[in-house]
Symmetry: C2
Subunit: 222 residues, 2 copies
Amino acid sequence: MTPLPSHRDIPAATVTRLPVYLRALHAVATRGVTRVSSEELAIDAGVRSTQLRKDLSHLGSHGVRGVGYDVGRLTAELTSALGLNRAWPVAIVGMGNLGRALAAYGGFATEGFHVVALLDRDHAIVGERIGELTVTAMSRLPGLVRELGIAIGVIATPAASAQLAADALVSAGVEAILTFAPVALTLPERVSTRSVDLATELHVLAFLAQHDRLAADVGSPG
Amino acid sequence: MTPLPSHRDIPAATVTRLPVYLRALHAVATRGVTRVSSEELAIDAGVRSTQLRKDLSHLGSHGVRGVGYDVGRLTAELTSALGLNRAWPVAIVGMGNLGRALAAYGGFATEGFHVVALLDRDHAIVGERIGELTVTAMSRLPGLVRELGIAIGVIATPAASAQLAADALVSAGVEAILTFAPVALTLPERVSTRSVDLATELHVLAFLAQHDRLAADVGSPG
DNA sequence: GGCACTTTGTGCATTCCTTCACAAACGCCT
DNA sequence: AGGCGTTTGTGAAGGAATGCACAAAGTGCC
């Protein structure tokens, strides 16, 4: 009773790797290659080939035994699985340093993600022009989400305002949130969240660097 | 023969949560609280209390049964475990939009991380002043790393230059790398890496949003 | 001082993820 | 057409992380 291979029940760990595979495929395609083995693609993606194959198996079989994967076909398959064959209008809340940088950052524009709304709580910033957009007040968020079909919100506010921004996005009808604020957000189950936190990443690196340094003092080289 | 509780053998998943606990502790301390239970702290950190306790147990016992944790003492313990009671000079490679934003971003300055060097391969940018620093040429990297004691490098270059930047950082003697470039880096074992990738995060959210949307069409609300 | 209450620290079960090992399936060469 | 080499897809094993349940250890009241 499943017309499509069914995108449900794909392990979370696999989902986070699918974008990596897609990028590896683009790199391969740029080299003019039209067929690729799981081994080659895995190297580009920085994973083991068996992991790549198992991950792809969750989307259904699209390789040919003894040959490999058709680059174009697999690209289409991943693009479809990730939902990237449609436009994803994005709203950014919080127009400080980070928000401005994100609005200007080209990385968002690739593959269907278009920043279509910039918002800030501070009325001193509202009305300011940033790139091709004008900063609007938070009160206009629900209307914008409805009119422009915004499904993804980005939180670039200070930590203290993040929960407020999240609540506003959720009640406006956004389905997924990417937050840069270093706080745990309380959200309804149905809203997906991803968190990017520079300070945390640096902390982890500090731990690892110190750790390896200690290990080097104790253990023998080699 | 271990004078300290030994910071080795801490699960990777735990390490990534330690910074979150530290931040939760700061939030608690700001409220003027001096003692906190694992339950309260876990809520602030967005995890289960049992997970918090198990994570902390890897650092040794620092709570008091029946009472909870001393905020100051636990903060000190985590700070020490993460290696944050010393300065961490940081170099940023790649002074495009992202690199400039990172150089200006205050989040780096907190807790010992100081951006002390900005580098770019492009000689047209070298010499330019950004904030309090001047962009220097890649050739000066080894000297800077040695003189300033730089242990952490940040890669903010385009994907195509990322491996080059990584090689330069590694041979200059950097111990850990935070990269924003969406490519798998090939690095020696001893160098720690963390990757932050905005496009990947958006892709994952697109997948989840589409997925939930499909599920909502099929399943019943409740 | 002893008892009731609270909260930590942890062995154990469970679930999730990764890796291994190998059969199934394909192209190619003769 | 048949056999050989290659590569996929996957069951099963192994390992890691999470959550449960409870004993151990402390405080405070009577």
